[in-house]
């Protein structure tokens, strides 16, 4: 009320009682609305949350010790194939409870997914943002490195390295993390170039803001949505590579419960007891599908063309 309007052109505007209604929702409110209206995102997110809870609370949930062998109870079928509730998903060839191994296996998959995505995300984002922002020679070097990396077949290189260093969760995670940065670099380079051309970056430079400040407060918040989408894609990618390596016997080593390893161990019996392969396969499929659903959903709800 006490506000004095010094500028005549502003007076009418300030008295406008409709202003509050004219102002639309904040970006946060709009995002929340879109998230709640996106089924794929909600389903994917729910499945991932469920599997994550399962992984975190594995010792509390698992009905048995995943390593406890019982040669008396080998190859018991799951309940729905006439088994008992003692082992709801049956037992494997060493008599270990399949459900418990499945639950502990979520730890391996999610761990490698998250850690590998973080490692590759840090490498790829740094390279991509630097290339996109500075351009010129930095861009040429990064583009060259991306091309070199794209020329290397991921699974073959991972196989070779793991064959030399020996398979372990640490080695597999690190190798996969060091191999999957290419998409981060490509996407972050392109989005940074795009955002860098916006006038608010020029305005920040004209104000004298430092380059780190511009990168952190002007560029990063505006490319974060693309980053999140790539993170989900590469998480799924890393999980599948771990499963493939473990399946080939060069990933996580037994007796660690890993879904890829469970498929591998079950494959000799596949014709007689197909569920040994189908159950871990289905869980793996579900997790990767959920991550992709979430990634697609995040892209949809944060895409600039959806924004005002």
């Amino acid at each position: 009320m006490t506000q004095t309007v010094t500028n005549p052109t502003g007076a009418a505007f300030d008295r406008d009682p409709l202003l509050e209604q004219i102002l639309g929702p904040t970006p946060g409110q709009m995002l929340r609305r879109r998230v709640l209206g996106h089924q794929g995102l909600l389903i994917g997110g729910a499945v991932i949350a469920l599997l994550a809870l399962m992984a975190i609370f594995a010792p509390l949930i698992a009905p048995h010790d995943p390593f406890a062998q019982s040669l008396m109870n080998r190859m018991e079928p799951p309940v729905f194939l006439g088994g008992s509730w003692e082992h709801p998903l049956g037992t494997d060839h060493l008599g270990r409870d399949y459900l418990s191994r499945l639950i502990y296996g979520a730890r391996v998959s999610l761990l490698i997914g998250v850690v590998a995505a973080v490692i590759s995300g840090v490498i790829g984002t740094t390279m991509g943002v630097a290339a996109g922002y500075f351009g010129g020679r930095v861009d040429a070097v990064v583009t060259f490195l991306i091309n070199v990396r794209l020329a290397m077949p991921v699974v073959l290189v991972a196989l070779a390295v793991v064959a030399i260093l020996g398979g372990s969760l640490t080695v597999v995670t690190t190798v996969v993390g060091l191999l999957l940065w290419d998409r981060f670099a490509v996407v972050m380079r392109a989005s940074t170039r795009q955002v860098r051309a916006r006038e608010y970056v020029a305005a920040a430079r004209a104000v004298g803001a430092s380059t780190p400040r511009i990168l952190l407060t002007e560029i990063m918040p505006n490319i974060a949505n693309n980053l999140i989408v790539v993170v989900t894609l590469e998480m799924a990618h890393a999980i599948l590579i771990e499963a493939a390596l473990s399946f080939l016997g060069l990933g996580v080593q037994p007796p660690t419960p890993s879904w890829g390893l469970m498929v591998s161990e079950g494959k000799t019996m596949m014709l007689f007891e197909p569920w040994l392969v189908l159950i871990p396969g289905a869980v793996l499929f579900t997790l990767v599908l959920a991550i992709n659903l979430m990634g697609d959903g995040l892209r949809d709800v944060t895409a600039p063309e959806n924004r005002n």
Partner: protein, 343 residues
């Protein structure tokens, strides 16, 4: 008309500035030079509003970026208060010279609140604490005619005109002397354009600002500018006091621009030029006078030789056949005497 002290006090000066970009053409990526500014000299005097007018692509934004230190000239000198731009402290310059850009949809970071956007200069320069920065934001919002309750909203919640007011507030919050306005109204609705122009005029009067006011439309600069420079393909082709230019432009290109302003076109968008040929490709500029393929008065000499800019008591003109004058004899295209020499 001319003020003796005016010409002796340039706050910003470009001396024979050229800017060449290299652009890749086609998939094979053969780089070719694109000269956006060609040996361009220009002065901005303390307290004036210099209108810089020319068609899209003639190099106006490039010139603005060079003045702001956002791009380095390929050759030539940029002087601020007579000292080379490069030798001066970046933060001190930022406090003196601020930009207002064309597109308020691109000039405000969509992830920041209005308060964050406007207080950025204060935070970068470490002026005051959080509380006094908030107070400064409130004050400047008031000055540009926005209620202080917009502080906590985001750009996406505002209209184009409101956003442009925010951009103006950000430019003025550190109380600069010089504001480079790069087409500040051309992205706005016609109904809002005049509000923003009036606001800029009021601010200039109240705060004693010096403007370089860029536009592709002569009509926009008419009421604001004290002097107008007309640009064509990286060069200044005419410079004159605003009244003199509107009374009778000497360069055929300025004349064409004026005619397009007078066309009863209510949309006031990009002026319709009654010029036959299309705007030339800056990678392949025409020989001689760059305007000759579109000029009704062009002679053979115009295609062969480039008219050197001539500075006289009315301003600057680079044409072999200027209006309101006996045809001038052909001059060699060499450095012309600058304004100061004519005073």
């Amino acid at each position: 008309m001319r003020n003796e002290t005016k010409a002796t006090n340039p706050v910003l000066e470009l001396k024979n500035v050229s800017k060449t970009y290299s652009v890749k053409q086609g998939l094979l990526g053969k780089s070719r030079p694109l000269t956006a500014l060609r040996d361009l000299s220009l002065r901005l005097e303390q307290g004036e509003v210099l209108g810089l007018v020319g068609e899209s692509g003639c190099g106006k934004s490039t010139l603005a970026k060079i003045l702001l230190g956002l791009e380095a000239p390929t050759s030539g000198e940029v002087l601020v208060d007579g000292a080379p731009l490069g030798s001066q402290d970046r933060l001190a310059l930022a406090r003196r010279i601020q930009p207002i850009f064309q597109d308020p949809y691109s000039s405000l970071n969509p992830r920041k609140t209005i308060a964050d956007i406007i207080s950025l200069p204060l935070r970068v320069h470490g002026i005051g604490d959080a509380a006094s920065q908030q107070a400064a934001v409130r004050e400047i919002l008031d000055v540009v005619g926005l209620p202080s309750r917009v502080m906590h909203t985001y750009p996406s919640q505002m209209s184009g005109g409101q956003r442009q007011r925010v951009a103006i507030a950000r430019a003025l919050v550190m109380k600069p002397d010089i504001v480079i306005c790069d087409e500040p109204t051309s992205a706005l609705d016609v109904s809002v354009q005049s509000q923003i122009l009036n606001l800029l005029a009021d601010l200039r009067r109240d705060l004693g600002l010096t403007y370089l006011f860029i536009s592709h439309n002569l009509a926009v600069v008419e009421h604001l500018a004290t002097r107008v420079a007309v640009m064509y393909l990286g060069r200044i082709v005419e410079e004159a006091e605003t009244e003199a230019l509107f009374d009778g432009a000497r360069h055929p290109y300025s004349e064409a621009l004026l005619t397009s302003v007078l066309t009863p076109d209510p949309s006031l968008g990009v002026p319709r030029m009654n010029l036959g040929a299309a705007y030339p490709n800056p990678i392949d500029p025409p020989s001689g006078c760059a305007f000759h393929p579109r000029c009704a008065k062009a002679t053979e000499a115009c295609a062969r030789q480039r008219p050197a800019p001539v500075v006289d008591e009315d301003g600057l003109i680079a044409c072999f056949h200027p209006n309101g004058m006996a045809p001038t004899r052909s001059r060699p295209a060499e450095a012309a005497p600058r304004l100061s020499a004519s005073v």
